[in-house]
Symmetry: C2
Subunit: 349 residues, 2 copies
């Protein structure tokens, strides 16, 4: 990294946090270890007075009890921040300075969205569904509630839900209490937290988070394309023990099991390869079973570690044929950087 992180970036890093990578050893990320990205402040919501408005051809007003009374679904879902890897780009786009840890997998419980939209009635000519949170702030000079839209087709997909619980407990405040949208396979910005309203538009929604934020732009003049589904990525749980300050890893020579998890929003993980020489040579790792269609796939490989310096990498390929690049794919916002993780390790006798 050529330049130091600024105070503003540090302010963001101190409040939003990644998943410490040793937590890759958990199939379901324990509460508090899942990555967290909050644009404004975490709202304090009184569940007794909170209501969700669904404004279709008629307007529904639903309490948390109303939602809990409906048929519930639970699904393990891997979620990644669209900005994961941003701070590894050169030049570094200035925003939340993620390294590689902005990911997590939770077991989300809630109600499927499609039947609710059908009950509210989808207006003729509606093209998008708009989701509005309770979190208000200023971004790029624009005061706003956090809002994102989905096409009606995407919103009606079977796996899209409104979640009120996470890992078996009510949503923690920071994950959207009392209710959040959950769109499996997409980067996290889509899964609007602290939901207060769902509406329809007859034109594509032009809110800040759709037309200014979260776009893949090659340069300042490029309007870009929307950030949507997660690119394939794999991460190895760093083996051995760390140095507190540098996070460098130390191992003793001998056999070590390298373990990690891989995911993609574009299709199931079909192959993961591991390199112990920084990507010069690769060996296939054994992928295990994902706990669900939208959750990460475990992989493992035994490694005979020899004394010296090594760099561990893993590379995932999904059913769509997408894979991970060696060099980060730069863009103005620093989104979707799924370049190979690099873990330097020192192996001692």
């Amino acid at each position: 990294m050529s330049t130091g992180i600024s105070l503003e970036e540090l302010q963001l890093a101190a409040r939003n946090h990644g998943m410490p990578l040793e937590a890759l050893r958990h199939e379901i990320t324990p509460l508090g270890l899942h990555y967290l990205l909050v644009h404004y402040d975490i709202p304090v919501v009184d569940p007794a007075t909170w209501r969700l408005a669904v404004a279709g051809t008629r307007e529904l007003s639903l309490s948390l009890d109303d939602l809990r009374a409906r048929d519930a679904v639970t699904a393990p879902v891997t979620m990644e921040c669209a900005g994961n890897g941003r701070a590894l780009l050169e030049p570094r786009p200035v925003s939340q300075p993620w390294l590689t840890e902005a990911v997590g997998t939770a077991a989300w419980t809630g109600v499927p969205l499609a039947p609710l939209l059908a009950e509210a009635g989808i207006p003729d000519g509606a093209v998008e569904v708009v989701f509005t949170g309770l979190d208000r702030g200023v971004e790029g000079g624009v005061e706003q509630l956090y809002e994102r839209s989905l096409s009606v087709d995407d919103a009606m997909r079977d796996d899209v839900m409104l979640a009120y619980a996470c890992n078996g407990v009510p949503l923690p405040p920071q994950h959207g209490f009392p209710l959040r949208l959950l769109v499996p396979g997409w980067y996290g910005m889509t899964s609007v937290k602290w939901l207060q309203r769902i509406g329809f538009t007859r034109e594509p929604f032009t809110g800040y988070q759709m037309v200014t934020g979260y776009r893949m732009r090659a340069g300042e003049d490029d309007p870009g394309t929307p950030v949507t589904r997660m690119e394939p990525r794999s991460l190895i749980a760093p083996p051995g023990i760390p140095d507190f300050m540098t996070r460098r890893r130390f191992l003793t020579a001998g056999r070590h099991r390298l373990e990690g998890r891989a995911w993609s929003g574009w299709g199931a993980i079909e192959q993961v390869d591991i390199s112990t020489d920084g990507g010069e040579t690769w060996r296939p790792a054994s992928p295990g079973s994902a706990p669900g269609p939208a959750a990460w796939t475990p992989f493992a490989l035994d490694w005979e570690a020899t004394e010296g310096e090594h760099v561990l990498c893993s590379r995932a390929r999904d059913a769509s044929g997408r894979t991970q690049p060696a060099a980060p794919p730069w863009n103005v916002g620093g989104y979707a950087n799924n370049a190979l993780q690099r873990i330097p390790v020192t192996v001692r006798a």
Copy 2:
């Protein structure tokens, strides 16, 4: 801040996180929002095989069930990282780059330590009790398990406990599952997580975290004095709404209730003053009731905000007469910086 944060500091900031200050609105910090500082890796512990060894004149080996079968106590305890405020020092000591958010209050449940030490038998001539965690790493070139000691007198205090639950649920992995020490009033480094062994020494313990880390040192040649109890500090929950990137606050003119919490490890909070002009003038805030003797005290003040730029500060004084300085107290390790918080706000019509 004169220099940018380094990649190494960012790596620490991405995994250890503060409490977003809007969470000051909660008397008990929700799980996942409490600050977190982990020196090495978070261990994965199998509770079925885990045992706590207490090596006194006889050696106890206790399972989690053994501990749960004992009389339990629950106490709300405010805990702060000794390095809180480090990144605001000039020059900045290089370590976890905390701003002001490294704090939280949890309701901890566990067993009092003193009866357990008495059962194990305190050896004649013992001066200190040593607490050993399961977390192993390298620090300052020294490979180590995380270990800290307390004087026998401090360890035998009524409020010192071994905690196995937090906010009514088993300890999350990152807070020390299955068992941690909890020493109310002291900075967090004392409350050793992932406890595996408690022993006694007849000489002061010379482990790294006692003689090298966590000492107040004026310069590199100064052996310094130990970091122990929390200095008084107060924080205001930032009012209004934030700018995503700069975290600057925006308010509308008119009456706003400024709310915050204050704590000290040296005595009860007796007074909190609030300034809206960066510390030029002060008004007393109304302190409320702390939820327990080792937990923070709420305070509030109504403010008639006028258009323009303001800087909010609060200043706590405890029963020992200690208060908060305007300028940060510099030391080599960047510990115990309890200087006034400064919240710039823009008030608009």
